[in-house]
Symmetry: C2
Subunit: 301 residues, 2 copies
């Protein structure tokens, strides 16, 4: 490879593993089988201090509360309207601790936030959000919060015959309006969580019924549903990516499963919560761990 | 266009409509929006005297009855083992007449036919079936029962920047092993009905739980789920394709919705059952009807 390739990666075991893997694939794997899947939150872009999609949804809930005062006194609209982001974080924490009461209220609000809208109207809301919103800590537009080394890796794999997909727990139709510009990945290669759609009078409308939560063991199922192939490369960063990485490493030929480790408090964030099990499995399964602090020369471009 | 293009289509209004549409698309539609969707049964290949997939499933049921005599005395195994294909046809007819009893028995058998198998093992069964089975009337392998003019149309659209997909009520994982060789359409561009998959120990296994019946209003939902785009070209032949054709013709730009009419008893089959409503809608919605008898110079290559 030329010197310029993977320039935002520091020399080290992660970069070497990628380069050696790609060279082996070029010798051994037919181009149509070179499927690479990437998680999004925490793998392609920043997921802290909160998921970008949560910001999108909270803004929508606040907008709904402003438009309909009868909503404004109850959760999750109350918290959204008053900017009480801790309420949302607590709902998730309580959910993981076995108390689902706040999460149920939150889920109902989230699911009804866009119900009845056509998919085109929903896409316009997404586009408007991304044109305005900025990351609360980094201070840059969310569309500039993609990780330069990972975007470079997408291009590197594609240059060597890979077809790249996003396989994220985030909303499929939330990601699609920006993935082409941010990552060079068009809508047809974005796999994510979804609500059911309803077809009437020639148009598709968003419903309030969940369809898939594309996380954990659902990821390999949806990847197969979409591609009909087992990936040979997968990148993730959390426990929700474990099955996707296992599906990839259990194939008969060469494969590379990559985990991004968030350990750079100066340039991004430093956390392991939600990734403990994945990081624990990595040495046993031969997964490559890419440390943001050590392996990335640049984080954001 | 050159003289050789669409050579298996007779000159006439259907061929002219296609040529004019493609010329307009080249002037007006960005390449990434040139999405074309094709039904399979009765649109890309022959669906009479019975769906090809029914032959595949009946053979499997007979195989299961032979391997497990405790099954052989009950339906649907009894009918499968004795070659009583009328039982299967009757189950479908009774279902449409409001009596679901035989269909329930049939569905249970079909859904459990491959339950527990990995998706790779299932694909091997499909490949073996296609290597052996022949069309009962045409006497040729099913893989040679694709319609030459429609395959030519796939290539014509692709040559003009379209991305082609199959969107069929048939089984997604039943079609995938042969669509590349038959139609030049790889697995990742095959949308179809599916059962749920279960991920364990690195492998995906077929379950007995239905996931999607990709027919009627489900077709536009699955097309969006897969592509994130509204097609500008759709081809079908039956009432189950109506919503897909409507989704296509309701877009803001140029579109073409095509219906194949089976009216050639000499070279293929002559029937309207299951297509009455679609053919009735065609003139009102401006859909192009392609008569096999009049519009196709060749049916099978």
């Amino acid at each position: 490879m030329s010197v310029a390739e993977l320039a935002s990666w520091n020399d080290g075991s992660a970069k070497s593993a990628i380069i050696e893997f790609v060279a082996q694939v070029e010798r051994e794997v037919a181009p149509e089988e070179r499927v690479a899947v990437f998680d999004n939150d925490g793998t392609l872009w920043c997921e802290k201090p909160a998921y970008v999609q949560l910001d999108f949804l909270v803004r929508r809930l606040a907008e709904q509360a402003a438009a309909d005062p009868s909503l404004a006194g109850a959760q999750p609209y109350l918290a959204a309207a008053s900017g009480d982001l801790a309420w949302f974080g607590d709902a998730v924490t309580q959910h993981y601790n076995g108390d689902d009461s706040a999460m149920k209220v939150l889920a109902r609000g989230i699911l009804s936030a866009y119900a009845g809208m056509t998919v085109d109207e929903h896409a316009e809301h997404v586009t408007t959000f991304f044109a305005r919103a900025r990351h609360p800590v980094l201070g840059r537009p969310y569309t500039e919060c993609g990780y330069a080394p990972m975007i470079e890796l997408l291009r590197h794999l594609e240059a060597h015959g890979f077809t790249t997909y996003i396989a994220s727990g985030g909303g499929r139709d939330f990601m699609r309006p920006v993935t082409t510009a941010m990552y060079g990945i068009p809508p047809e290669r974005v796999i994510g969580s979804s609500v059911g759609l309803d077809f009437t009078d020639g148009h598709l409308r968003t419903t309030a019924t969940p369809e898939f939560l594309d996380d954990g063991p659902v990821k390999p199922v949806r990847i197969w549903g979409r591609t009909g192939r087992r990936p040979i490369f997968a990148a993730g960063n959390s426990n929700g990516d474990i099955e996707m990485l296992q599906f990839t490493d259990a194939g008969p030929g060469p494969s590379l499963s990559l985990l991004v480790r968030h350990d750079d408090v100066a340039r991004e964030f430093d956390y392991v919560a939600g990734a403990e099990k994945a990081l624990g499995l990595a040495p046993r399964r031969g997964w490559v761990v890419s440390s943001i602090r050590d392996d990335w020369a640049t984080v954001f471009s």
